[in-house]
Amino acid sequence: MIDKSHIGTVSEARMIDIEKGQLKFFAKATGQTDPIYFDDDAARAAGHPAIPMPPTFAFSLGLGAPPKNGNLFDIIPDLRGILHGEQSFTYHQMLYAGDTATLISTIRDIYEKRNGALEFVVQDTDVKNQHGALCIQMRTVTVVRNMQA
Protein backbone atom coordinates (compact mmCIF):
# COMPACT_ATOMS: atom_id res chain seq x y z
CA MET A 1 0.00 0.00 0.00
CA ILE A 2 1.10 3.55 -0.68
CA ASP A 3 1.68 5.56 2.48
CA LYS A 4 -1.03 8.23 2.54
CA SER A 5 1.16 10.47 4.65
CA HIS A 6 2.71 11.59 1.35
CA ILE A 7 -0.49 13.56 0.59
CA GLY A 8 0.39 17.25 0.60
CA THR A 9 4.11 16.72 0.03
CA VAL A 10 5.45 19.64 -1.98
CA SER A 11 8.68 19.06 -3.89
CA GLU A 12 11.67 21.30 -3.96
CA ALA A 13 11.96 23.55 -7.04
CA ARG A 14 13.78 21.68 -9.83
CA MET A 15 15.40 23.44 -12.77
CA ILE A 16 15.79 21.78 -16.16
CA ASP A 17 17.03 23.15 -19.48
CA ILE A 18 14.76 22.65 -22.48
CA GLU A 19 17.34 21.30 -24.88
CA LYS A 20 16.98 21.70 -28.63
CA GLY A 21 18.63 18.34 -29.29
CA GLN A 22 16.16 16.54 -27.08
CA LEU A 23 13.17 18.25 -28.70
CA LYS A 24 14.50 17.15 -32.11
CA PHE A 25 14.90 13.60 -30.77
CA PHE A 26 11.34 13.73 -29.38
CA ALA A 27 10.05 14.83 -32.79
CA LYS A 28 11.86 11.89 -34.44
CA ALA A 29 10.65 9.41 -31.83
CA THR A 30 7.03 10.49 -32.29
CA GLY A 31 7.06 10.53 -36.10
CA GLN A 32 6.50 14.29 -36.13
CA THR A 33 6.35 15.65 -39.70
CA ASP A 34 5.73 19.35 -38.91
CA PRO A 35 9.21 20.92 -39.32
CA ILE A 36 8.64 23.68 -36.73
CA TYR A 37 9.24 20.92 -34.14
CA PHE A 38 12.69 19.94 -35.46
CA ASP A 39 14.01 22.72 -37.73
CA ASP A 40 15.10 26.12 -36.38
CA ASP A 41 14.49 27.91 -39.66
CA ALA A 42 10.99 26.48 -40.04
CA ALA A 43 10.18 27.42 -36.44
CA ARG A 44 11.35 31.00 -36.96
CA ALA A 45 9.53 31.24 -40.31
CA ALA A 46 6.35 30.31 -38.42
CA GLY A 47 6.93 33.18 -35.98
CA HIS A 48 8.52 31.25 -33.12
CA PRO A 49 11.73 32.42 -31.42
CA ALA A 50 13.06 28.84 -31.44
CA ILE A 51 11.75 25.26 -31.73
CA PRO A 52 8.57 25.09 -29.59
CA MET A 53 8.37 22.59 -26.76
CA PRO A 54 5.55 20.26 -27.87
CA PRO A 55 2.39 20.17 -25.77
CA THR A 56 3.03 16.91 -23.87
CA PHE A 57 6.72 17.51 -23.21
CA ALA A 58 6.14 19.12 -19.81
CA PHE A 59 5.56 15.54 -18.60
CA SER A 60 9.06 14.67 -19.82
CA LEU A 61 10.51 17.67 -18.00
CA GLY A 62 9.05 16.21 -14.82
CA LEU A 63 10.69 12.85 -15.50
CA GLY A 64 13.96 14.52 -16.46
CA ALA A 65 14.09 16.48 -13.20
CA PRO A 66 12.60 14.10 -10.64
CA PRO A 67 11.94 15.56 -7.20
CA LYS A 68 13.73 14.40 -4.06
CA ASN A 69 10.53 15.06 -2.10
CA GLY A 70 7.42 13.29 -3.35
CA ASN A 71 8.96 11.30 -6.22
CA LEU A 72 6.27 8.89 -7.48
CA PHE A 73 8.87 6.22 -8.18
CA ASP A 74 9.95 6.34 -4.54
CA ILE A 75 6.53 6.41 -2.89
CA ILE A 76 5.04 3.58 -4.98
CA PRO A 77 6.40 0.34 -3.47
CA ASP A 78 5.95 -1.94 -6.52
CA LEU A 79 6.40 -0.38 -9.95
CA ARG A 80 5.38 -3.51 -11.88
CA GLY A 81 1.70 -2.63 -11.65
CA ILE A 82 1.81 1.06 -12.53
CA LEU A 83 -0.32 2.57 -15.27
CA HIS A 84 -0.91 6.11 -16.38
CA GLY A 85 -4.54 6.87 -15.54
CA GLU A 86 -5.12 10.46 -16.55
CA GLN A 87 -3.07 13.41 -17.73
CA SER A 88 -4.06 17.03 -18.11
CA PHE A 89 -2.35 20.27 -19.02
CA THR A 90 -3.43 23.88 -18.65
CA TYR A 91 -1.41 26.16 -20.91
CA HIS A 92 -0.60 29.79 -20.09
CA GLN A 93 2.50 30.51 -22.15
CA MET A 94 4.66 28.69 -24.69
CA LEU A 95 8.09 27.30 -23.82
CA TYR A 96 10.90 26.99 -26.36
CA ALA A 97 14.23 25.28 -26.88
CA GLY A 98 16.79 27.27 -24.92
CA ASP A 99 14.42 28.12 -22.08
CA THR A 100 15.03 26.88 -18.56
CA ALA A 101 12.01 25.51 -16.71
CA THR A 102 11.46 25.34 -12.97
CA LEU A 103 9.07 22.68 -11.68
CA ILE A 104 7.35 22.32 -8.33
CA SER A 105 5.15 19.25 -7.76
CA THR A 106 2.56 18.50 -5.09
CA ILE A 107 1.14 15.11 -4.16
CA ARG A 108 -2.50 16.20 -4.17
CA ASP A 109 -4.21 12.94 -3.25
CA ILE A 110 -3.72 9.20 -2.72
CA TYR A 111 -6.79 6.96 -2.68
CA GLU A 112 -7.87 3.43 -3.40
CA LYS A 113 -10.71 1.58 -5.07
CA ARG A 114 -11.87 -2.04 -5.03
CA ASN A 115 -10.60 -2.64 -1.48
CA GLY A 116 -7.09 -1.60 -2.40
CA ALA A 117 -6.78 -3.59 -5.63
CA LEU A 118 -6.32 -0.23 -7.34
CA GLU A 119 -4.50 2.72 -5.84
CA PHE A 120 -4.37 6.22 -7.31
CA VAL A 121 -1.82 8.99 -6.85
CA VAL A 122 -2.70 12.50 -8.02
CA GLN A 123 0.30 14.76 -8.64
CA ASP A 124 0.10 18.42 -9.70
CA THR A 125 3.09 20.24 -11.18
CA ASP A 126 3.58 23.91 -11.99
CA VAL A 127 6.09 24.72 -14.74
CA LYS A 128 7.58 28.21 -14.85
CA ASN A 129 10.05 29.70 -17.31
CA GLN A 130 13.33 31.48 -16.49
CA HIS A 131 11.43 34.77 -16.11
CA GLY A 132 9.25 33.32 -13.35
CA ALA A 133 6.12 33.22 -15.53
CA LEU A 134 3.75 30.29 -14.96
CA CYS A 135 3.64 28.50 -18.34
CA ILE A 136 1.99 25.12 -17.76
CA GLN A 137 0.10 23.42 -14.95
CA MET A 138 -0.18 19.67 -15.26
CA ARG A 139 -1.91 16.89 -13.37
CA THR A 140 -0.85 13.26 -13.52
CA VAL A 141 -3.01 10.48 -12.12
CA THR A 142 -1.00 7.29 -11.69
CA VAL A 143 -2.80 3.99 -11.11
CA VAL A 144 -1.21 1.08 -9.30
CA ARG A 145 -2.69 -2.38 -9.79
CA ASN A 146 -1.95 -4.55 -6.78
CA MET A 147 -2.01 -8.06 -8.22
CA GLN A 148 -2.21 -9.85 -4.89
CA ALA A 149 -4.74 -7.55 -3.20
Binding site: A29, T30, G31, Q32, G47, P54, T56, S60, G85, M94
Partner: protein
Protein backbone atom coordinates in the same frame (compact mmCIF):
# COMPACT_ATOMS: atom_id res chain seq x y z
CA UNK B 1 1.58 34.63 -34.39
CA UNK B 2 -0.92 32.69 -36.44
CA UNK B 3 -3.63 35.20 -35.69
CA UNK B 4 -5.96 33.79 -38.31
CA UNK B 5 -9.31 33.06 -36.78
CA UNK B 6 -10.73 29.86 -38.13
CA UNK B 7 -14.34 29.44 -38.90
CA UNK B 8 -15.13 26.65 -36.47
CA UNK B 9 -18.55 25.15 -35.83
CA UNK B 10 -19.98 22.46 -33.61
CA UNK B 11 -19.79 19.13 -35.41
CA UNK B 12 -16.61 19.98 -37.33
CA UNK B 13 -14.17 17.10 -37.33
CA UNK B 14 -10.39 17.29 -37.34
CA UNK B 15 -8.58 15.33 -40.05
CA UNK B 16 -7.86 11.85 -38.62
CA UNK B 17 -4.22 11.35 -37.63
CA UNK B 18 -2.78 7.85 -38.00
CA UNK B 19 0.53 6.65 -36.48
CA UNK B 20 2.22 3.26 -36.20
CA UNK B 21 2.82 0.40 -36.28
CA UNK B 22 4.37 0.91 -32.90
CA UNK B 23 7.50 -1.26 -32.85
CA UNK B 24 10.02 -2.08 -30.11
CA UNK B 25 12.23 0.53 -31.78
CA UNK B 26 9.46 3.12 -31.44
CA UNK B 27 9.26 2.40 -27.72
CA UNK B 28 13.03 2.45 -27.23
CA UNK B 29 13.34 5.80 -29.01
CA UNK B 30 10.35 7.25 -27.16
CA UNK B 31 11.72 6.10 -23.80
CA UNK B 32 14.94 8.00 -24.45
CA UNK B 33 13.36 11.05 -26.05
CA UNK B 34 10.68 11.45 -23.39
CA UNK B 35 12.82 10.63 -20.32
CA UNK B 36 10.43 7.76 -19.52
CA UNK B 37 12.49 4.78 -18.44
CA UNK B 38 9.65 2.72 -16.96
CA UNK B 39 10.77 -0.81 -17.72
CA UNK B 40 7.28 -2.03 -18.66
CA UNK B 41 7.79 -0.37 -22.06
CA UNK B 42 11.30 -1.46 -22.94
CA UNK B 43 12.36 -4.60 -21.10
CA UNK B 44 10.48 -7.74 -22.14
CA UNK B 45 12.33 -9.90 -19.55
CA UNK B 46 11.15 -7.63 -16.74
CA UNK B 47 7.62 -7.55 -18.14
CA UNK B 48 7.37 -11.34 -18.36
CA UNK B 49 8.61 -11.69 -14.79
CA UNK B 50 5.80 -9.29 -13.81
CA UNK B 51 3.32 -11.72 -15.40
CA UNK B 52 2.46 -9.64 -18.45
CA UNK B 53 2.67 -10.98 -22.02
CA UNK B 54 4.98 -8.32 -23.48
CA UNK B 55 6.04 -4.69 -23.39
CA UNK B 56 3.35 -2.16 -24.28
CA UNK B 57 3.35 1.42 -25.48
CA UNK B 58 3.72 4.44 -23.23
CA UNK B 59 0.40 6.23 -22.72
CA UNK B 60 2.24 9.47 -23.37
CA UNK B 61 3.26 8.23 -26.83
CA UNK B 62 -0.42 8.12 -27.81
CA UNK B 63 -0.97 11.48 -26.13
CA UNK B 64 1.90 12.89 -28.20
CA UNK B 65 0.19 11.54 -31.33
CA UNK B 66 -3.05 13.17 -30.17
CA UNK B 67 -1.07 16.39 -29.78
CA UNK B 68 -0.07 16.12 -33.44
CA UNK B 69 -3.77 15.80 -34.34
CA UNK B 70 -4.30 19.11 -32.52
CA UNK B 71 -1.26 21.01 -33.80
CA UNK B 72 -1.86 19.83 -37.37
CA UNK B 73 -5.23 21.57 -37.06
CA UNK B 74 -4.35 24.67 -35.02
CA UNK B 75 -1.11 26.34 -33.92
CA UNK B 76 0.02 25.07 -30.53
CA UNK B 77 -0.23 28.51 -28.91
CA UNK B 78 -4.01 28.23 -29.32
CA UNK B 79 -4.20 25.31 -26.90
CA UNK B 80 -5.60 26.33 -23.51
CA UNK B 81 -6.50 23.06 -21.75
CA UNK B 82 -6.18 19.38 -22.56
CA UNK B 83 -7.12 16.30 -20.57
CA UNK B 84 -6.94 12.62 -21.43
CA UNK B 85 -7.91 9.39 -19.73
CA UNK B 86 -5.96 6.28 -20.59
CA UNK B 87 -8.58 3.57 -21.12
CA UNK B 88 -6.63 0.55 -22.29
CA UNK B 89 -3.06 -0.54 -22.92
CA UNK B 90 -1.77 0.13 -26.45
CA UNK B 91 -0.17 -3.16 -27.51
CA UNK B 92 3.05 -3.58 -29.43
CA UNK B 93 2.63 -3.33 -33.23
CA UNK B 94 -0.58 -1.31 -32.92
CA UNK B 95 -1.50 1.30 -35.47
CA UNK B 96 -3.52 4.05 -33.83
CA UNK B 97 -5.95 6.61 -35.18
CA UNK B 98 -6.49 9.92 -33.38
CA UNK B 99 -9.81 11.67 -33.90
CA UNK B 100 -11.30 14.97 -32.80
CA UNK B 101 -14.61 16.77 -33.08
CA UNK B 102 -15.82 20.23 -32.06
CA UNK B 103 -18.53 19.89 -29.40
CA UNK B 104 -18.97 23.48 -28.26
CA UNK B 105 -18.03 27.01 -29.30
CA UNK B 106 -18.09 29.53 -26.47
CA UNK B 107 -16.56 32.72 -25.13
CA UNK B 108 -14.18 32.59 -22.19
CA UNK B 109 -11.22 34.67 -21.05
CA UNK B 110 -12.11 37.39 -23.55
CA UNK B 111 -11.76 35.13 -26.59
CA UNK B 112 -13.73 32.65 -28.67
CA UNK B 113 -12.92 29.09 -27.75
CA UNK B 114 -13.85 25.65 -29.00
CA UNK B 115 -14.18 22.48 -26.96
CA UNK B 116 -13.00 19.34 -28.71
CA UNK B 117 -13.84 15.73 -27.97
CA UNK B 118 -10.80 13.56 -28.62
CA UNK B 119 -10.11 9.86 -28.93
CA UNK B 120 -7.47 7.35 -29.92
CA UNK B 121 -8.25 3.80 -31.02
CA UNK B 122 -6.30 0.86 -32.39
CA UNK B 123 -6.79 -0.86 -35.73
CA UNK B 124 -8.82 -3.48 -33.83
CA UNK B 125 -11.28 -0.82 -32.70
CA UNK B 126 -10.12 -0.74 -29.08
CA UNK B 127 -10.48 2.73 -27.53
CA UNK B 128 -7.19 3.49 -25.81
CA UNK B 129 -7.53 7.18 -24.90
CA UNK B 130 -10.33 9.69 -24.69
CA UNK B 131 -10.16 13.30 -23.76
CA UNK B 132 -11.08 16.88 -24.23
CA UNK B 133 -9.26 20.02 -25.29
CA UNK B 134 -10.13 23.70 -25.25
CA UNK B 135 -8.55 25.84 -27.96
CA UNK B 136 -8.79 29.52 -28.84
CA UNK B 137 -10.28 30.05 -32.29
Amino acid sequence: MAAISKSVAVGDTLPDHVQGGISRTTLALFAGASNDYVRLHIDSDYVKEAGLPDVFAHGMLSMAYMGQLLTNWMPQDRLRYWNVRFLAITPLHATVTCRGEVTEVFEEGGEQRARLKLSVSTQDGVSTLDGEAVVAI
